[in-house]
């Protein structure tokens, strides 16, 4: 078997890149090679993985600087002799080696509004047309690899924004609830405040790295921004807000 020069981050923030020469087969992916390394020269190498088919979003890392799933990077796409550098995702605190602390995402998951459906038809069933659910189905393809969060410069370069910004993954989730044909409550634009939508300046980095091919910027973020802005600057609604504030005596 040929050898590949793999340079892997080892340790925590005080760690370093260590080079390993690892055997590989052309039909393998980066994750296979990392596993071979793990079963030979680096047995305590920390790496997350589950499905190995791009469906669970566990093996996110930065391969030669590009945020990607290690299970979807085929060895055949690298030049023989090329050094491959594998780093943990930069945006999240490092735990060890290639494993980062992604708990911030789970905190955000609890912040976004839950789905609350309309009543069923008289026969106990919901009816929806296929054409009306396709956008929602696109959003539901998210595998929560958090590569979109990793690449988003709002938080990648400014961790201080994490308190006020839920990130592209959760804009997708908000959009999926908001645009669900059966959603009853959170379609109110007021449900869109407080998640930091305005921090996003639509550079589309998230869309580019999404392994599920979700058009995050075009299909989720921009429509949400439009709904928000529509509400804020609609003169009738603006007047309505003034009047209702007056009535409530504030």
């Amino acid at each position: 078997m040929p050898l590949v020069d793999l340079k892997v981050w080892r340790g925590d923030d005080n760690g370093e890149y260590i080079s390993y020469l690892v055997e590989y087969d052309e039909g393998e992916v980066i994750l296979d090679v990392v596993h071979r390394l793990q079963s030979t020269d680096a047995q305590d190498l920390a790496v997350r993985w589950n499905c190995k088919a791009g469906k669970c979003g566990s093996c996110s890392a930065e391969v030669n600087g590009k945020p990607s799933l290690m299970c979807m990077q085929r060895m055949v796409n690298f030049t023989p002799g090329e050094e491959i550098i594998i780093s943990p995702m930069k945006t999240f605190p490092l735990i060890k080696d290639l494993v980062t602390d992604v708990s911030w995402n789970y905190e955000n998951a609890r912040k976004v509004p839950a789905f609350s459906p309309k009543k069923v038809d008289t026969d106990g069933k919901h009816r929806m047309q296929q054409v009306d659910i396709e956008r929602g189905q696109e959003f539901h393809q998210c595998i929560e690899c958090y590569l979109c969060q990793d690449v988003c410069h709002v938080i990648r370069d400014h961790p201080e924004n994490k308190d006020n910004f839920v990130g592209p993954r959760f804009f997708v989730q908000i959009a999926s609830v908001n645009m669900h044909p059966l959603e009853s409550a959170s379609q109110k634009p007021s449900a869109l405040y407080g998640f930091g939508l305005d921090y996003c300046n639509i550079t589309k980095c998230c869309t580019e790295v999404c392994p599920a091919g979700i058009k995050i910027t075009d299909n989720a973020i921009i429509p949400l921004k439009e709904r928000l802005v529509d509400d804020k600057y609609d003169p009738v609604r603006w007047l309505g807000r003034i009047i209702s504030k007056g009535k409530s005596g504030k």
């Binding site: 735990i95 609890r110 047309q129």
Partner: protein, 601 residues
């Protein structure tokens, strides 16, 4: 011994596993007012359920009005070669439609019929198009829906936390708690619980070619048995007929049965649709005998009998195995699965988007233009913890099980699509069963400190050992030998060889040595999982030796026929004084009104 600091928690109901069954169980338990927590080995939302592709079987009758729970029940029993726990099969068929609607109520977006109802697709062994689905990523839809529901209810989740031992009060044969470790730092964690629900999924990681992820080490199976629970049907392992065979990176990864449900056919190297040569007598009257008949069945089920490509999985897996052995396989040792010549590229991309991308990105194969290469892959454990059909309680008081880790529903072979519905039907029942039990239990039982100390010593052993083999090597040896000696086709001689292999590996395990420390150390995690895999391998092999016949997911070359005698026996596997025993037990017979369904057909 060293004193280890142990973090402690108390919950009425503790759920181990955060897949489709565990989540549904936790949601139900919470709804009954019990303090409930979930523990899972991976990050929350990564459970193996996301890998389920084709759909969720439920007789809703949206596509074929003739469908109802009785037909689904009959299909399930026949698919399981009549060895199923009939009551579980009945409950499953009756309750599955409500569980589909419940997921929709929680936000799931299933594909639709023209009337706007939930669309259903054809699958192996199901008489009517019955699988509610979302393209070919139904498991992801189910898991995410339940995950978001659980998050909205504020259920406490201990993620990347592995349970290593169940604690039992021996005097009363009742569960008292569990001990485990955080994967991140390796520090210990103890739970006191009135009831525990095992929902840990499968055990396929003991085979070399498998669709299971690293998590499928059968922890729940083994821990429950060590805690005294009875296991059932452990000899039955499903080899899914269509796993990818090439390139090496994806060997074993699942190719959904939906490909055949949506019109794809299996062909050998001579381009022949070989399944027509493998129609067993049991299904002959319901299966098409010519290609024309099979193709018209796809258009309308009243125009012909169903295609043999959609026979139950055990039949198809054996047929592929035979074709390859006879030298009619594909270049990489599988057979061809062709949908390209039968359906339009638009249709294929619409119905099977994830298969399209999987082959395109990982194998460089465009499935709208060329056939796939596929072969059997270890996929599912039919056997598992023996449970009460109504409550999902095991033979240990307060210990419940749901999903793949529970045995009984699927008998000797599971039909595709019956797993996702199983998860939510019995997940819900286990949640209620555990909640009822917890409410009737006044106080937490004490946990025996001696047991805790023993467990800790066992967990730390791989660091104390020196000069032993590394866990990866032992694991690989187990996988290769199980694949070779206890795979799709089995013989007494090879099974006995496997048994001594297990003994040999158990000895190696006692001196397994790991590098590094407890800080996120996958080598150590695997070393601890080895005990579970070896325990399950032994259960499986011992039961397989006893079943001297061929049935469903258990094919014996030395006993190629099904026998009437074994058709009425389930094997119970349990640990007695530290060693694994297998005993035959007469299966329950079903009431007359259900038995009626199998006559004259």
């Amino acid at each position: 011994m060293t004193d280890y600091e142990i973090e402690e928690h108390e919950y009425d109901v503790l759920v181990i596993g955060a897949g489709g069954a565990g989540l549904r169980a936790a949601i139900e338990s919470l709804a009954f007012g019990c303090s409930t927590a979930i523990v899972c080995k991976s990050l929350f939302g990564k459970a193996h359920t996301v890998m389920a592709e084709g759909g969720m079987a439920a007789a809703m009758g949206n596509v074929y009005e003739e469908d109802n729970w009785k037909v689904h029940f009959r299909d399930t029993m026949r698919g399981g070669k009549m060895l199923n726990n009939w009551r579980m099969a009945q409950i499953h068929a009756q309750e599955a439609p409500d569980r589909v609607l419940e997921l929709e109520e929680w936000g799931a977006l299933f594909d639709r019929t023209e009337d706007g109802l939930i669309l259903q697709r054809d699958f192996g062994g199901h008489k009517y198009a019955r699988l509610a689905h979302v393209g070919d990523s139904t498991g992801l839809e189910m898991l995410r829906t339940e995950q978001q529901k659980a998050a909205s209810l504020g259920i406490k989740v201990f993620s990347e936390c592995t349970i290593n031992r169940l604690m039992v009060d021996k005097k009363t044969n009742s569960i008292s708690g569990a001990l485990g470790y955080w994967r991140e730092k390796g520090n210990l964690i103890k739970f006191k619980a009135k009831a525990i629900i095992i929902a840990t999924g499968g055990l396929g990681k003991m085979y070399a070619i498998t669709s299971n992820s690293w998590e499928g080490t059968g922890d729940g199976h083994a821990m429950a048995m060590m805690a005294g629970a009875e296991m059932v049907d452990m000899e039955f392992v499903q080899f899914h007929p269509t796993g990818m065979v090439w390139p090496p990176s994806v060997k074993g990864i699942l190719v959904t049965e939906g490909v055949r449900g949506d019109g794809g056919t299996l062909r050998n190297s001579t381009d022949k649709r070989f399944m027509f040569n493998y129609i067993p007598e049991m299904f002959a009257s319901e299966t098409a005998s010519t290609e024309d008949e099979a193709d018209s069945w796809y258009e309308d089920h009243s125009l012909g009998r169903r295609t043999p490509d959609l026979l139950p999985r055990d039949e198809v897996a054996r047929a592929i195995n035979s074709e390859v052995k006879a030298g009619r396989g594909s270049p990489h040792g599988g057979v061809f699965l062709d949908i390209a010549s039968r359906r339009s590229p638009e249709y294929i991309q619409k119905r099977l988007p994830s298969m399209y991308h999987q082959f395109k990105q990982l194998a460089g194969v465009d499935i709208t233009k060329e056939p796939m290469e596929v072969g059997p892959t270890c996929h599912y454990a039919m056997g598992g913890i023996k449970v009460n059909a109504e409550t999902a309680q095991s033979s240990v008081n307060g210990l419940f099980a749901a999903g793949e880790v529970a045995g009984g529903l699927h008998g000797a072979n599971r039909l595709g699509g019956n797993s996702l519905s199983d998860l939510v039907v019995f997940g819900r029942r286990a949640g209620k069963g555990a909640a009822d039990y917890a409410k009737n239990t006044e106080s937490f039982l004490p946990i025996d400190q001696i047991e805790i100390d023993k467990a800790i010593q066992n967990m730390m052993m791989p660091f104390d050992n020196s000069n032993g083999e590394n866990p990866y090597t032992i694991h690989k040896e187990l996988q290769d030998s199980m694949q070779k000696l206890a795979g799709i086709i089995r013989t007494e001689e090879e099974l006995v060889q496997m048994l001594s292999k297990v003994e040999d590996l158990k000895k190696k395990m006692l001196s397994v040595t790991v590098e590094g420390n407890r800080w996120f150390n996958p080598g150590w995690h695997l070393a601890l999982d080895l005990e579970f895999m070896l325990t399950n391998a032994e259960s499986l092999v011992r039961a397989a030796i006893e079943r001297k016949e061929s049935r469903g997911g258990h094919t014996r070359d030395d006993y190629p026929e099904a026998s009437k005698k074994f058709g009425e026996i389930n094997f119970i596997i349990k640990q007695v004084n530290g060693s694994i025993k297998v005993e035959p037990r007469q299966s329950d017979s079903m009431p007359d009104e259900l038995a009626e369904l199998f006559k004259d057909k």
